[in-house]
């Protein structure tokens, strides 16, 4: 078991024949992901990386029975690509693209919600179920199979944390980078629900950061609904107010969205909060041994 993607996921890549699309599709295939084809408007009928290319997602779904899509198209076209996937019967959409206008994301998310589709991202590294499927741009070798579910707003910090979990003698069931934008498709709570139900997952790690109040909402939810141990780290304790820290969503607005406020809320909800980003692996092991 795992969540959202596994070895039977049938994956297409939107932006398949582009530079980014080609590079990451190759990496996903090498990991063992069941990539069944790709979409590049205007290049339908060709074969790329040994897989068929289609003009539209609708054609791709019809021909390959794809249920999952990895989106690697430029920001100006990404919301369109998300909505095309949702309208064509894709069930899990993973949008890696960084820099999509917020207004476009709001509309695309409403659209995926109306179609009962899971949207992960945008501006994220994607999702990986260890040893089964990598639908994203993360280095697959870091994510060894195990019992920890990982939810993160970040990219490289996710790899760092997964690596620590592995070095602590544990491993990952599914790891999801939910993205660092102000509006994202799948929230921490959405994933907590799935991990709570997943029998293979024994503990959950949340990697949050400054900006917004998603971690605080998650803390509220954990209180009454999550029985599995949760370990959390919030990046940005030293970030100044009012400055965007790389991610479009990582900004302390007024006095809202600080790391301390989030840590306090999580700790109050019974979550094991670590102050040092170097302590995640060890703390997860401690919590599991309790």
């Amino acid at each position: 078991m795992s969540i959202l993607v596994n070895k039977s996921s049938r994956v297409i890549v939107q932006g398949f024949t582009g530079k980014e699309g080609t590079f990451h599709a190759e990496q996903c295939i090498a990991y063992g992901t069941n990539v069944v084809g790709g979409v590049t408007p205007g290049k339908g009928g060709q074969t790329h990386l040994g897989r068929p290319v289609f003009h539209t997602v609708k054609e791709a779904v019809k021909a390959t029975k794809a249920d999952t899509s990895l989106i690697l198209v430029p920001p100006a076209f990404a919301a369109d690509a998300i909505m095309e996937a949702a309208a064509s019967g894709i069930k899990v959409i993973v949008c890696i693209t960084e820099g999509i206008p917020t207004r476009d994301v709001i509309i695309a998310k409403k659209f995926t919600d109306n179609h009962n589709v899971t949207l992960i991202g945008p501006n994220c590294p994607g999702i990986i179920t260890a040893d089964e499927a990598k639908v994203g741009i993360m280095p697959g070798f870091v994510f060894k199979k195990g019992t920890i579910g990982l939810i993160s707003k970040s990219g490289t910090l996710t790899y760092e944390m997964a690596n620590q979990v592995v070095l602590a003698g544990l491993g990952i069931t599914t790891a999801i980078g939910i993205g660092g934008d102000p509006i994202i498709g799948t929230t921490i709570i959405d994933l907590l629900k799935l991990f709570e139900k997943d029998q293979e997952t024994k503990a959950i790690v949340i990697i949050g950061e400054i900006g917004g109040d998603m971690e605080i909402q998650a803390a509220e939810y954990i209180k009454g609904n999550i029985t599995k141990p949760v370990v959390a780290f919030i990046a940005g304790s030293t970030a100044p107010k009012g400055k965007r820290m790389g991610h479009a969503g990582a900004i302390i607005a007024g006095s809202k969205g600080t790391a301390q406020e989030k840590k306090d809320a999580l700790a109050k909800a019974g979550v094991t909060v670590v102050d040092s980003p170097a302590d995640i692996g060890v703390k997860v092991r401690d919590v599991l041994n309790k």
Binding site: R103, S154, A239, M245, G246, D275, S276
Partner: protein
């Protein structure tokens, strides 16, 4: 990206949001011509900087004659204005905005912003105009009326009514307010704004609404489809090092400490700052070299970090995913050849091709490069290096 009041008002005018007559000047000697163009017999001279709180800092003056306007313009242009938002160093004022005086009956507040939790833009109104809205939100939140607006259906009559009744407006005023609010929604949504704020929104003696102040911020991700707004960017309002970093695809924020850091990825970069602090050091900056870090971006990163004279050591923390660590290692060596890095550099490379990278660093003849094995080790070593200097 933020813009000046006079620029926000240009945008307001384009969409039919009423503003007072005004003109921006850069030289005090243009003040009188501006006044003649505006007309009337009372004027306000306002310093144009991006920070709020200009009035309290002496950057807004009421003038009753041509000579007074010129006098205040010459005082304001060239002054260093300190407000609660500029920091203690203040901001040099290069432009002033001269505006005709308004007969004020009531001061209100009207703004629009993205509500991240609700995932929708909200329009907010308050009877407490002219006061800091954060203060109102903290002390008397019931005095702020909020309506969420779905971008798929746009601004509706009920949005206007909820706000207007909340502001205790009369029947005649409600009609005027509805037109005003609808135009403001257009300003926000059609320009991909992240913030529009009118504080105060003025109800005039003849029951008209007029935007006395105007503040706008924009979604950087959407600027590509608004070349007219991109042109309004005022580089004088930004940190030159941050602009330079941006031009090279790096994301940089200067801080007050002495440990420089160069990291790939925003989350890891913030965490690196955090752990430096936990180990007893003070980070000098946030620097994300991005997913496509190369030898040249690393070199540029060093250059930018070293422009800050406070930096006594640098921590390079790279977790290679897309980025290959061996490439970064070569980049570090290349960079130290072209830029003289005299401070100790602690290097922690992990992930894709980390082994090769550590060999490359190990085989170099540079004595100021210290290798670290993990995040904790790296932070301890760099703090030690700073304290040893």
């Amino acid at each position: 990206m933020n813009i000046h009041e006079y620029q926000a008002k240009q945008i307001f005018a384009k969409y039919g949001v009423p503003i007072p007559k005004g003109k921006m000047i850069e030289k005090p000697e243009d003040a009188k011509d501006a006044v003649r163009e505006i007309g009337g017999n009372i004027w306000v001279v306002k310093a144009q900087i991006h920070a709020g709180g200009r009035g309290k800092g002496g950057g807004v003056k009421l003038a009753r004659s041509l000579d007074e306007v010129e006098k205040y313009a010459s005082e304001i242009i060239g002054m260093t204005l300190i407000t609660h938002q500029t920091g203690p160093a203040g901001k040099l004022v290069k432009k002033a905005y001269i505006e005709g005086g308004i007969d004020i009956k009531k001061e209100l507040y009207l703004g629009m912003v993205l509500d991240r939790a609700k995932e929708l833009p909200v329009m907010m109104a308050s009877t407490e105009g002219g006061v800091e809205i954060e203060k109102v939100a903290a002390e008397t939140p019931e005095k702020i009326i909020k309506v969420e607006i779905d971008p798929l259906t746009g601004f509706q009559g009920y949005h206007a009514r909820e706000l207007a009744f909340g502001l205790n407006l009369t029947k005649e005023q409600i009609k005027e307010f509805g037109k005003f609010a609808k135009a403001l929604y257009k300003v926000y949504t059609l320009n991909d704004a992240s913030l529009v704020e009118i504080n105060p929104l003025v109800l005039t003696a003849d029951d008209k609404f007029i935007a006395l102040d105007a503040k706008m911020g924009f979604d950087d991700n959407a600027l590509f489809r608004h070349p007219d707004i991109s042109e309004m960017r005022d580089f004088d309002e930004e940190d030159p090092a941050e602009i330079e970093a941006n031009n090279y695809g790096l994301s940089y924020v200067k801080l007050d400490g002495n440990v420089g850091c160069m990291v790939n990825g925003a989350g890891l970069a913030m965490s690196t700052m955090d752990i430096i602090k936990l180990e007893g050091g003070e980070p000098a900056n946030f620097l994300d070299v991005g997913g496509k870090a190369s030898a040249s971006t690393v070199a540029k990163g060093f250059e930018i970090i070293l422009k800050d004279p406070n930096v006594k050591a640098i921590l390079v923390n790279i977790f290679g995913g897309i980025v290959r660590c061996d490439r970064i290692a070569n980049g570090i060596l290349e960079a130290t050849e072209t830029i003289k890095v005299e401070v100790p550099i602690v290097v922690r490379l992990d992930g894709t091709n980390a082994k090769e990278a550590i060999e490359i660093i190990g085989n170099s003849s540079l004595t100021n490069i210290i290798s670290a094995t993990d995040l904790g080790d790296a932070a301890r070593k760099v703090v030690k290096a700073v304290k040893g200097v």
